[in-house]
């Protein structure tokens, strides 16, 4: 592999795009190797957390990611509550329900966001627009419950910060009801469309053994037949008191990853509905004062997989060690096998299929292996990907008219 320095494409703007840098090594059409560089967005949050007190850290970790911004504080408070005992022993009933509602709403908005971008990458811009259109009411629901469309500031050790008002419940239910036809439409658009099938089936395959070896998580693992989901394996909130299914597919290609995410939307909607129905009245905060010395692990099923937090406390009001591992840390690494061997027009969608936090492909540089010359940037890749879809569409049309 060459160690030639490559100028990254596009400005590094951590607020707009999430910077990751992939270098694809290609021979002709075929991707032969990939080099992944991350860390552009590393803000030293683990170190900062060691100088904040336990209440502040919840706000700090919320800012790790704007898309799964409830997963990190949730995993963090679970880790602290693990030191105190278990979540169910510490947190009031009503707060457990509110936590699950927030967590599942976030999954809906995140999966819709991914669906839109995946549509864009393969040239289905209508899917992109519609997915984001139907994501808006989800953000409105967040605004209604938490006051924020993003960074909800709901989680604290021992409970949640805001209650769900009784008069909001029917409005939330109505919004959820209206979401179902939209998800039905996406399911039809993706699962019954022959062109999307032809475009995504067998592309970017991660086999079950590879998924295990690379320790991938969440929908990426479940699409490859690895049956893991923290919500079932180690229930938190009320995930063990509502009825839902873990969606597992076996093909490991991008089509399977898409199907897993779309079907999970139904499960999340159903979980929120059940929570709204079953939610008891009562306190929402246990008013925890002191954190004893000890160590605790908290994990939640973020939209992208298991989000892991480890806290070590020495009895003061600050953690002495806070380890955070986001699911993309494991998933992005697996591109090394999912991408290699595929064609270059599949690279954009393959890299995006693990939902790495989306716009990373803008920073792709393609290198032609024999002479190490840089020939394409990320936008070219997306264009290539879209062109391939159009070609398939044309072939499909031709076959139909013949």
């Amino acid at each position: 592999m060459s160690h030639k320095v490559i100028v990254p494409i596009g400005p590094y703007h951590p607020l707009q795009d999430e910077p990751e840098f992939f270098q694809l090594y290609v021979e002709g059409e075929k991707v032969v190797d990939i080099d992944i560089t991350i860390g552009y967005n590393h803000r030293g949050i683990e170190k900062v957390a060691e100088s904040k007190h336990f209440d502040q850290v919840a706000f700090l970790v919320e800012r790790i990611c704007g898309i799964c911004s409830s997963s990190h504080p949730y995993a963090y408070v679970l880790a602290v509550e693990d030191i105190l005992g278990r979540e169910v022993n510490v947190v009031p009933e009503r707060a457990l329900y509110i936590r699950t509602i927030i967590d599942e709403l976030q999954r809906i908005h995140s999966h819709l966001l991914w669906l839109g971008l995946a549509g864009h990458f393969i040239g289905y811009n209508t899917v992109w627009m519609w997915a984001w259109k139907y994501r808006e009411p989800v953000l409105d629901m967040f605004e209604m419950i938490t006051g924020n469309r993003n960074n909800y500031a709901m989680f604290k050790v021992g409970g949640v910060r805001r209650d769900i008002r009784d008069e909001d419940v029917p409005v939330l239910k109505k919004a959820l009801d209206e979401l179902v036809p939209a998800v039905n439409m996406f399911r039809g658009a993706v699962m019954d469309d022959p062109v999307i099938k032809a475009r995504l089936k067998g592309v970017g395959v991660l086999t079950k053994q590879q998924a295990i070896d690379w320790c991938v998580l969440g929908p990426t693992a479940r699409a490859s037949g690895v049956n893991i989901d923290v919500r079932r394996d180690e229930p938190y909130g009320v995930t063990d008191r509502v009825n839902w299914n873990v969606i597992v597919e076996k093909d490991g290609d991008i089509f399977a990853k898409t199907v897993v995410r779309i079907l999970e939307l139904y499960e999340s909607i159903s979980m929120i509905r059940q929570c709204l129905d079953k939610m008891p009245k009562g306190a929402i905060d246990a008013d925890v004062k002191d954190i004893p010395p000890g160590e605790g692990i908290g994990r939640v099923e973020a939209p992208r997989g298991e989000c892991f937090h480890y806290i070590k406390s020495d009895g003061t009001n600050q953690p002495i060690r806070h380890k955070i591992r986001a699911p993309s840390f494991m998933n992005v690494a697996s591109n090394k096998v999912a991408c290699v061997g595929g064609t270059i027009s599949d690279a954009a969608i393959t890299l995006a299929a693990v939902d790495p936090c989306y716009c990373c492909t803008e920073r792709v540089a393609v290198i032609n292996k024999p002479d190490n010359k840089k020939i394409m940037n990320g936008w070219d890749l997306i264009k290539l990907s879209q062109e391939k879809t159009n070609r398939l569409k044309q072939e499909w049309e031709n076959a139909r008219t013949e």
Partner: protein, 144 residues
């Protein structure tokens, strides 16, 4: 047979200390020379999922916790290793067993300065290329 009994029976005296915070959180301490064999046993034979590893700078040395998840029972088995030599902390890499450990070992290497012997690709992951050599931000003596 219960997973914890399987581990206890097989590893026997290699376990220096066994601690159960709850039925879901099991921590056990081993000697650093056994890590490769034990990680191989947990991952390949018992089929535990490697979740991540975390390094801590403690007064008595660097502590690494390898967190293995037994998903069927929702349990975490955290293998604790203490590296007492604070000047030249060193341990066998477990990345040759499975590639999922590659990135986290690179991270601990650059953040805490712990050398992973036998790692296939030990280079910077998160810190930038112009970060000064020999400065490890997650050590306690590194002040912000």
């Amino acid at each position: 047979m219960d997973m914890r009994d399987k581990i206890k029976e097989r590893l026997g005296s290699k376990i220096i200390e066994w601690k159960e915070d709850s039925s879901k959180r099991i921590y056990f301490t081993i000697d650093k020379k056994d890590i490769f064999k034990i990680a191989e046993f947990l991952f390949k034979e018992l089929g535990l999922r490697f979740s991540t590893a975390s390094g801590v700078d403690t007064p008595s040395g660097f502590e690494i916790l390898y967190h293995f998840s037994f998903d069927k029972a929702g349990q975490f088995y955290s293998v604790r290793v203490l590296l007492e030599d604070k000047l030249h902390p060193e341990i066998d890499s477990i990345a040759p067993i499975f590639p999922g450990a590659e990135w986290i070992e690179r991270e601990i290497w650059e953040m805490l300065g712990i050398n992973f012997v036998g790692h296939p690709n030990l280079r910077r992951l998160l810190l930038s290329e112009d970060w000064p050599q020999g400065q490890y931000p997650l050590r306690q003596d590194y002040k912000l």
